[in-house]
Symmetry: D2
Subunit: 94 residues, 4 copies
């Protein structure tokens, strides 16, 4: 599961492939809103499982019913295939 | 939030009030099945939050996508209003 | 458990009462570092339980082994007794 | 990470290799006790992460501050290398 940096063509496809995410400062970002803290934290627990299974973890924050996620691959200095995989898993949970 | 034991009339109403639960050995029991471990654990995290907020915790087990819950109030030696409250919160999450 | 805003004397005592926290932009802030994501998320699960039990939730973020927490009481427009309580519970878990 | 069944020599070594576990009905079993529900659930969240990362999940139960874990590899009909790995990860968290 070696991660590789996305090439310019893959970057250009992101808006279509991941319509719920935006590119911001070179990171993939998504904001989510839930009914309450319980629903938000249940989602966070599932994202944590997905991240640990991938060996790739989000930069994320939570305030009550809101969760903000930013993805990048620090080791490679940009967006990689791991960010794509984690974003798709998160979309499946949202 | 002092818990009180359910009286016989309240016990008799349980099948109507909590149709997803069964009475077994004096405990309220419910079995749930999810898509996978992630969905099961996301649910468990939310039940844990509800239990801690109530100060009343389940006897429960998990095997991959299955969760089994049994409720009783050990301190009072039977089913109490806290079991009703926790069962209803769990139903709202399931 | 009605929250009340901290008065100036209580604010002045914060550095002694909560030495692991700093006041920043009117919020109580603490940064924590763990061995890895697993240890960080285990801590977050326990903070989530404490927050839900108090009915008072943190503004917090996580990047792998780091967790940053900021506390304030939005409804009251400042720091309240609930922030003190949550900070002390978090200190007991850290 | 293909799991293979433990051979009789590996089974015979289990008491030395995993002294905190017992063999019962062909399963590896360990009971743990914590200070309270919060500590127990924080541990469970970490075991959940380890299990999801391994793709191998425990049979486990919890009552307030107690957690009981049983490991076996259903697909292979016995104890496998995955059970060893999960038991060792759990020991590192306990």
């Amino acid at each position: 599961m070696a991660a590789t940096l996305l090439d310019p063509a893959q970057i250009a496809e992101l808006p279509q492939r991941l319509p719920a995410w935006r590119l911001q400062d070179g990171r993939l970002c998504r904001d989510l809103r839930f009914a309450d803290f319980s629903e938000a934290f249940g989602f966070m627990a599932r994202v944590a499982l997905a991240a640990e299974a991938l060996g790739h973890h989000p930069d994320w924050s939570n305030v009550w019913n809101r969760v903000s996620i930013a993805l990048e691959t620090h080791d490679l200095g940009g967006l990689s295939t791991l960010d794509l995989q984690l974003a798709e898993r998160i979309d499946a949970l949202a």
